[in-house]
Amino acid sequence: MEISKEVMKLLAAGLAIGLGAIGPGIGIGLVGLGGAQATGRNPEASGTILTNMILAIAFAEAVAIYALVVALILIFVA
């Protein structure tokens, strides 16, 4: 296949979301680890831990969302 603008756009979009998801993936994994450990040590606090865990996951996930936005812009707008 000839390397056209279209091909480069698709490749860039794939790379953007693929590489952009690595960091948040590790981050969310670490949050889950911390949450599970905290719940194991102090099961009574599981409600508060869940709240804080979801909040932290959301912040980590936001980075992946920016990568998603970039990928969508590359495919549909650029």
């Binding site: 709240t51 979801i54 909040l55 996930e61 936001a62 969302i65 920016y66 998603l68």
Partner: protein, 311 residues
């Protein structure tokens, strides 16, 4: 006898899987590759061109309103049997109480004023996500000539018309599609969420709430730390706008990706395999609804907490 039936059922399932993976594609049973489009398809209804996500949204509204009107009819009529809830009223009350207690745990006594908004967020997003999983969504619609991209040939069986895997010039415009697969709906929800956070902040703290963003007092108090506090305020302002983006795209991305996943898996292995992903989508839909509600609650909790009280 029961065991034989079980073994038979498993064998039939394996057979269907094998058919769909191997034998099907070789013969006429090859399935249609899905056409994936980010913007909502438009269904002509009379003179109007209605986006199919709008129909999905109205359907979700109808389900929710119907459920809660039916569930609260004894309460609204003031009948004595409302005191001892039965049937649907029990369900509706259980849902409400579970969510309300959950939110009271996060927000404390500030929760009461925000409960209607937060619970509406949760229930609406949940129903709008789960409604996607009903048969007929994304699969039943009008066969129209394709404008761009590749089309399919059609084959009619009785009064029904099916797309086939052969290339042609027709495509499917589904009647129904989940509301959150259209970026407009999650963005609207995100705008409501962020705007109401500001409203609750002003209600709790008065106009001094905005000193969170433009901190003149810190700037005029002078010194390096004063300047830093002012700049942190500017960062807060920026983060309000990124909140809109991350709220909107989180919901959209998850539900749109779910739709694409289901369509692709259904076209690769039409039997049994999609069930696993349907279960995953049930989970994702609920988690996204929960996350939207929880994040709004958490941001509101931050916004209504007095600024500078902790000094």
């Amino acid at each position: 006898m029961k065991r034989v039936a079980k073994v038979l059922a498993v064998l039939v399932l394996i057979g269907l899987c094998a058919f769909s993976c191997v034998i099907g594609p070789l013969g006429q049973g090859q399935v249609v590759r899905p056409h994936i489009q980010m913007a909502a398809e438009e269904v002509p209804i009379g003179p109007l061109h209605v986006p199919n996500t709008l129909i999905g949204l109205l359907l979700a509204d109808l389900v929710l309103i119907g459920l809660f009107l039916a569930g609260t009819r004894h309460i609204r009529a003031g009948r004595p049997e409302a005191m001892v809830p039965r049937g649907l009223q029990n369900l509706v009350e259980a849902i409400y109480e579970f969510l309300a207690n959950f939110l009271r745990g996060i927000l404390g006594e500030r929760a009461e004023k925000m409960l209607p908004l937060l619970i509406t967020f949760f229930l609406f997003i949940l129903v709008a996500n789960w409604i996607e999983l009903f048969p007929g969504f994304d699969t039943v619609g009008l066969i129209e000539p394709v404008h761009e991209g590749e089309g399919h040939a059609v084959r009619s069986v009785g009064p029904l018309i099916f797309l086939t895997h052969e290339p042609g010039e027709y495509t499917l415009v589904p009647f129904l599609r989940a509301a959150n697969t259209d970026l407009n709906v999650p963005l609207a929800l995100a705008l409501i969420s962020v705007f109401m956070t500001q409203v609750y902040g002003v209600q709790a703290l008065g106009w001094g709430y905005f000193s969170r963003f433009i901190n003149i007092k810190a700037l005029t108090s002078g010194g390096f730390m004063g300047l830093m506090n002012f700049l942190v305020g500017l960062l807060e302002t920026l983060s309000e706008f990124t909140k809109i983006i991350s709220f909107g795209f989180r919901l959209f991305g998850n539900i749109f990706a779910g739709m694409v996943l289901l369509l692709v898996i259904s076209s690769l292995v039409p039997f049994v395999a999609p069930v696993v992903f349907y279960i995953l989508e049930l989970f994702v839909g609920a988690v996204q609804a929960l996350v939207f509600m929880m994040l709004t609650a958490a941001f509101t909790a931050v916004a209504t907490a007095g600024h500078g009280e902790h000094h």
